[in-house]
């Protein structure tokens, strides 16, 4: 891999300048040891084209800001090594999300809207009492909640999802996973019927066509198929009027 010259074909478009049509622009770069798409894009911007727009924050695969389509697949650019790719690397912005410019998309607004729709906070009647010891929790449950909360909202699952690409209001795997996170949390006092209101529709758990690109593309390797099955089964039984305990143990952990 030493001494390769890489060719980057990068999507360019500024929505504020619709008169300039979307186009592909080519940049050449000499590959270095350990080069990631993060390193490469910064080199291109600093040495060749200071107007190039793309997003990075943590550059360590924990913040979720740098997802883009790399040679046809939604991936985190920060942890994609150029050595794993052919000489020609094609970069596109994620679909579904609103384009800000070039490779930069507005995942923030999309995920905020999702969180508000699913009321993604612990619904509790309890208030904090500073004189009291914390309420106890089984460590296994704490770990289960954490497993469901590991999503970094990068948008890879949404970008890869056929339903999300054709239906604006579809919650997608990230949304369904988000609901599952609160379903397993004993502190959340929502009833099963209330959850049904949130995800028991075509925009929620029943809109999925089962193509499973979400699961294939999740850089955190979250068990998204499992989460969907968990939420669907729970929601279906509520819809059919089957009485059940509020908390069903997830099949992960």
């Amino acid at each position: 891999m030493a001494d390769r010259e890489l060719t980057f074909e990068i999507f360019r478009y500024n929505p504020a300048k619709p008169e300039i049509k979307p186009r592909m622009q080519t940049y050449k770069l000499k590959e270095t040891t350990g080069m990631t798409i993060f390193v490469a894009l910064n080199m291109i911007r600093e040495e060749q084209d200071p107007s190039l727009m793309f997003d990075f924050v943590c550059r360590a695969a924990i913040c979720g800001s740098c997802a883009m389509i790399i040679n046809g697949r939604p991936r985190l650019a920060c942890k994609t090594l150029t050595s794993t790719l052919p000489r020609t690397i094609k970069l596109f912005p994620l679909p579904v999300f609103k384009l800000i410019g070039d490779l930069s998309v507005d995942t923030g607004t999309w995920f905020r809207h999702l969180s508000i729709r699913t009321e993604s906070w612990v619904h509790t009647s309890k208030t904090f009492d500073p004189t009291k010891e914390e309420e106890r929790m089984d460590n296994k449950i704490a770990l289960e909640i954490y497993e469901a909360e590991r999503c970094i909202e990068c948008g890879c699952c949404i970008a890869g999802c056929a339903t999300a690409n054709i239906r604006d209001e579809f919650l997608g795997a990230a949304g369904i996973n988000r609901v599952a996170r609160f379903m397993v949390d004993p502190r959340d006092e929502r009833t099963p019927e209330e959850y049904f209101e949130v995800v028991g529709s075509e925009e929620g758990a029943f809109g999925c066509m089962g193509l499973m690109a979400c699961d294939d593309n999740c850089p955190m390797e979250l068990p998204l198929q499992m989460q969907l099955a968990f939420v669907r089964r729970k929601i279906a039984s509520i819809g059919l009027g089957i009485k059940q305990e509020k908390k069903i143990k997830m099949g992960i952990g």
Partner: protein, 607 residues
Amino acid sequence: MSIYQTHITDVLIVGAGLAGERIAVEAAMHGHDVILLSLVPPRRSHSTAAQGGMQASLGNCAMGEGDNPDVHFADTVKGSDWGCDQEVARLFVENAPLAVREMAIWGVPWSRVVAGQRKLPDGRVIEEKKEKEGLITARDFGGTAKWRTCYTADGTGHTLQYTMDSMVLKLGITVHDRTEAISLIHDGEQCIGVVARCLRTGDLRVYIAKTTVICTGGYGRLYSASTNAVINEGNGMFVALNTGVVPLGNMEAVQFHPTGMVPVWILITEGARGDGGYLLDKNLYRFMPDYEPKKKELASRDVVSRRMTQHMRAGYGVDSPYGPHLWLDIRHLGAQHINTNLREIANIARNFAGVDPVKDLIPVRPTQHYSMGGVRTNKDGAAYGLKNLFAAGEAACWDLHGFNRLGGNSLAETITAGRIIGKKVAEYTKDATISYNYKLVDDAVKEQENRIKALVHGWNGKENVYEVRNAMEKNLMDYVGIFRNGKDLQKAVDNLREVYHRSLKIGLRSNGEGPNPELAQALRMPGMVRLALCIAYGALMRTESRGSHAREDYPKRDDVNWLKRTLAYWPDGADLPELKYEPVKITELPPGDRGYGESSAQSKGGK
């Protein structure tokens, strides 16, 4: 008159990481209107990256038994090398347990005590008590007398930030993400808000508030090698400094970590060396035993960092396109150990450097990690110099950390300070009114518009923003690093002054239209170099060694002359900060031996 959107609110918070959001939550709970500004969606904030945990003396786990705020206080003051404000440290240690428990009600899945026996890696057997089962547990961290660091698996920062952000959502707090505050609006006495730039469109906006709070995190990205996120450029600090009346405290106090991985500077945790990994130079020679025969690679963080730097300076670094580095070797631990016990390290090495530590060496170099300095505030979080202005978290010098922060005290500070200062902000805002001359606002916007025009048209010069930036980063890295001495620091100050003048002559190569990234960088550049000068000049003047500030030419801590805090001001038209000093408040624990580190051991018995 210019055309721009104006937003008016009670409390304006710049920065939506943990400190900013905690203050927002407190202010909103007190009934105030709040707007949060953030460079990125709040959940992408650098707070999210903190994996370790937050210190709070709950004393629930076996190894934490008998812990209390007094023990936490002593650890924090010693850790700071007596540089911290002890009133603040006291306030912090008393409130940290409340902050942790409150986050539990709001949704953080803290790891919990599991009853029963457990064998530690060093062979000791501990027993967690049945009556403590289910309470919040803690893990071990350097510099603490008890196991005190509360955590959620390996994602403490993530779960804290997501939970805090869920409270922001629940309370309906307004968040303007992809928005950057580029200057404070003030009349020299009071702050009335900020001029901001929308990073979606490039448009300027005005925010007017009774109270403005700076919570923008650290300035790691002033250094070429930092473990920090790319957004940590010290924005809040330099917009405060640029007012000329708000000082920054202790900017010379910069913490380094020995093993940032080259070239992405992601942290390789101490676990690698703890399990028997060692450091090699370009000749594949293990050099640490020559410098530290007893502790070798396991000397304290600052000591190992200093030795590595010394060795590279002597010409034993490995050359790379990203500068010289050393090797971390864990190959001898074997595939099974690496792939199980050191799995995270192995994954990071494979994903980010493309090396397999089972058969390859890992390139590492000491890397900037944390900034103890920041906007100087009193114990209520109120900034010096301007009314209506507050600061909290890593952006502030509150001053909890003095000259060295303990692991687990940074996350703890964000939330605990947010809780304490949030209440103060809420009280302050209740009695505050805004009155200002509109011309003040208009002039503030015009000044920024003119800066942008000058950059776009190259009216002041044609300096390349990235070259200026690289020169700044290199000077800090080479001369204001882990080891410092008068000669190098003087060189840094001289060079950075020159870089500063270049930063005033930047001209864009692109057109600067819309959310142009080159323009964003160019707007920040003079402020960043000012911060760099505050660090370098403060370090040059401080002729002692204290905590992370290690002077080769002044290796001892000097309490007689230097038990004081540096305050850096930036007078109008200057090319160097003006330094003033104030005494460090000692209320409970008089200066003594830390019990570790070279400088304090030598300072025993007087100095």
